[in-house]
Symmetry: C2
Subunit: 445 residues, 2 copies
């Protein structure tokens, strides 16, 4: 006998977790589609050279790689960005631009497993490729707002910045040759705090404590958007690039408001640096106000050229990644997940063995009217069946025995409140029952 077990760093998804996970993905797909983002999919396995093309040594080490039966060096994708770049290089002439795509799929990284982190996890990315228009930047913010709202969050903050603002700020302070080190330190501000960031700046960028202080003062520029936009031009200095970056940031902010994103959800945060060598324009992060410590749940930015490794065609774009697994964990913490182990609402007890076909007809009638339901597969004792229904998380149980069937009625039991009512039902007359069930499911009784 073989011991049934999963590999270290991998996990099974039981219904109680998989049901909300599917719901999350469906919500995301619905939002993406409502903005005209189209789905794509790419192979799990790619030529290894495609995957390692631009990766860091760190990423390279994490790739699951092997030689296939044909002797090819292959790897399992470790993100959805590299496959998108390869995909775009290969198909963009057929696809045309602007090209808006979403991609929800698993990726694999052979990293040391940590609490809550797995070697296989879902990524959920959306990108707009082939345009530098600010409309795409604005829309990205609007998508994030709608994603989180529809998933069920109300209190969250989309922090936006523009790489140009940050770069020109540093130039104005005559620290542009320290940009990489300063930004790398700055990026940790939320995580490790002001003092340790200042120390790191002095350490790695070789700036004085006073200079570090100036950078941090800028990064901590606070207040509402209007006051920040008033102070920024002077801080950034008179250069054209800096002023253009500020204008662009302002455009994104105003556009997002016009698109219906509440002002209190957008924060202008010039301390965000992200992806030092990749992003070139707008950059953004999203945090849950009630759980700031879990970090950003949706991040990304604008890049100049997506697929330079695979094509000479210049493909600017903007993209974001929604942290599905992190969101799921957050929802669990905030008690936003149900605990149902079934996707169906109504349980039908199979009580009277002679009436098998009647239960089947009842089940089909409810399903036709949009009420999901399950019949117990065996005419066991009612107590055992109701225990099963309760354990699975059904909201309602329908019980009908010889008496009920002969009197054209069924018993409707609301499992949470343990209330029971008699409702008229005949195979050719199910309106009363459908109405009663819908009322209970809507929480009206």
């Amino acid at each position: 006998m073989i011991k049934p077990r999963t590999l270290n760093g991998f996990r099974d998804y039981l219904p109680s977790v998989m049901i909300p996970r599917e719901r999350l993905m469906e919500t995301a797909r619905g939002v993406f589609r409502s903005f005209g983002f189209a789905p794509i999919d790419t192979p799990t396995l790619e030529y290894l050279e495609i995957l390692t093309g631009k990766g860091s040594d760190e990423t390279d080490r994490q790739i699951y790689r092997f030689e296939d039966n044909g002797g090819r060096a292959v790897g399992m994708r470790f993100d959805l960005t590299v496959p998108l770049a390869r995909f775009a290089a290969q198909h963009i002439n057929e696809l045309g631009t602007p090209f808006k795509r979403y991609h929800i799929a698993p990726v694999w990284r052979g990293e040391r497993p940590q609490a809550g982190r797995y070697r296989e996890f879902i990524q959920c990315d959306f990108d707009t490729i082939g345009t530098t228009g600010v409309m795409a930047d604005i829309e990205t913010v609007a998508v994030i707002d709608r994603l989180l709202s529809q998933i069920g969050f109300e209190r969250f903050t989309i922090s936006i910045n523009n790489r140009g603002v940050l770069t020109e700020l540093l130039r104005h302070l005559e620290m542009e040759n320290k940009t990489v080190e300063l930004l790398r330190a700055l990026d940790k501000l939320a995580k490790i705090g002001r003092d340790r960031v200042a120390a790191e700046m002095c350490d790695t960028a070789g700036v004085t404590a006073a200079q570090a202080d100036k950078v941090l003062a800028l990064a901590e520029l606070n207040g509402d958007a209007e006051s920040i936009f008033q102070r920024l031009p002077d801080l950034v200095g008179p250069g054209e690039a800096g002023q253009a970056a500020i204008e662009r940031l302002k455009d994104v902010y105003q556009g997002a408001l016009a698109a219906g994103v509440p002002a209190e959800r957008i924060k202008i945060d010039v301390s965000i640096a992200r992806g030092l060598d990749y992003y070139t324009g707008m950059i953004f992060e999203t945090t849950l106000d009630d759980l700031p410590k879990i970090g950003s749940v949706c991040s990304g930015g604008r890049y100049d050229n997506l697929a330079g490794l695979y094509t000479k065609q210049h493909l600017p774009g903007i993209g974001a990644s929604l942290g599905l697994d992190r969101l799921l964990a957050a929802m669990e913490t905030l008690d936003l997940l149900g605990d149902a182990k079934t996707p169906a609402d109504v349980f039908i007890a199979y009580f009277d063995a002679d009436r098998r076909d009647d239960y089947l007809t009842l089940s089909a009638a409810l399903r036709d009217r949009g009420i999901s339901n399950e019949i117990y597969p065996e005419p066991k004792k009612l107590g055992a069946q109701l225990k099963y229904a309760d354990g699975r998380g059904f909201k309602i149980a329908i019980v009908a025995g010889a008496n009920e069937w002969s009197e054209d009625r069924v018993q409707v039991k609301t499992l949470a409140s343990k209330q029971t009512q008699d409702v008229n039902y005949r195979h050719d007359q199910s309106d009363d029952l459908v109405q009663a069930l819908k009322q209970i499911l809507a929480g009206e009784v």
Copy 2:
């Protein structure tokens, strides 16, 4: 520069294929849930010994296998049945029975790629575990009927049989010791025809031509269900096992009718043999009446013990597999797929650069009312924008320039018919526009 390409036997899914593929999966999920099947997921990678545990040599050869960084022999799953068996053995005490699950996920087989067959493809399985009740058999037929109907097929046939009927038939003919060879030949009846099956029977089972003829006559037993059920008892002979199998088959047939499956979609077909050593009770296949040659699009059966390799716990069940890729190909052949390259309905031209925020507010208002839409990201010439909209497959384009905005109206262009109408619209008054759009989308104008 690295040449962008996919591995042999793998493919990219562009939006025009991915949109209907997602729709298909969503329909399947909806149907499964409406019967109370719950989703699960399992890791892509499993210990190799888990995967090879019961596989045939043929399957073993096809597994993508390698040694991971920890030196473990691992493999990528080649179906969803082995992972389900492992999963059930590991979790069944927590899950309880009956356990109804669906699982829609990719699997990998390193077989020689053929036209229309890939090394990575989606499987879509549903199973009811832990019950021998006929209710589960009936429900399986009802699920298949609803799956194919909701996907958009009207003309299809679910052929059902019971392994007991077939086995007892052969015993009655005193050919039970030839069962394996005879069934293996019989299984090819639809594919290679009567004559070649008869020849194979003589060849491999060593029966006479007359005996082969008898088996084939039984297998070709034809007519409506009632007449078949009348003739079966005599043919199968007086043994208890045979009569019980016939009764069970009759129960499934009658139950399916009660569950609303149209009689003309169910065929009693005692020639179906499938999975010689695995299935033990009901077995079934589903063919599209308009495309019989593509073979079964949904098959499966009842098994006695799912997970004997991994647990001593006895787990009977019944399951089926929906051939998603085959269905997609069929839908393409039958012209049941649209050719849209966008999931959104309405295109909003970005025409007047000064009105950027107005387009954004319009877009959000329509989205709030359930109308998916996309704004062109740059204020390009209208002709280029409309060409883009047409190429993507949008149904409607909304055009508004300085005149329209100042007069509180927009132009609504139906792209297929090239009709244009003026419709009143203000940000605080979008009812007229929403109604006009919904009418066009519903095909009412």
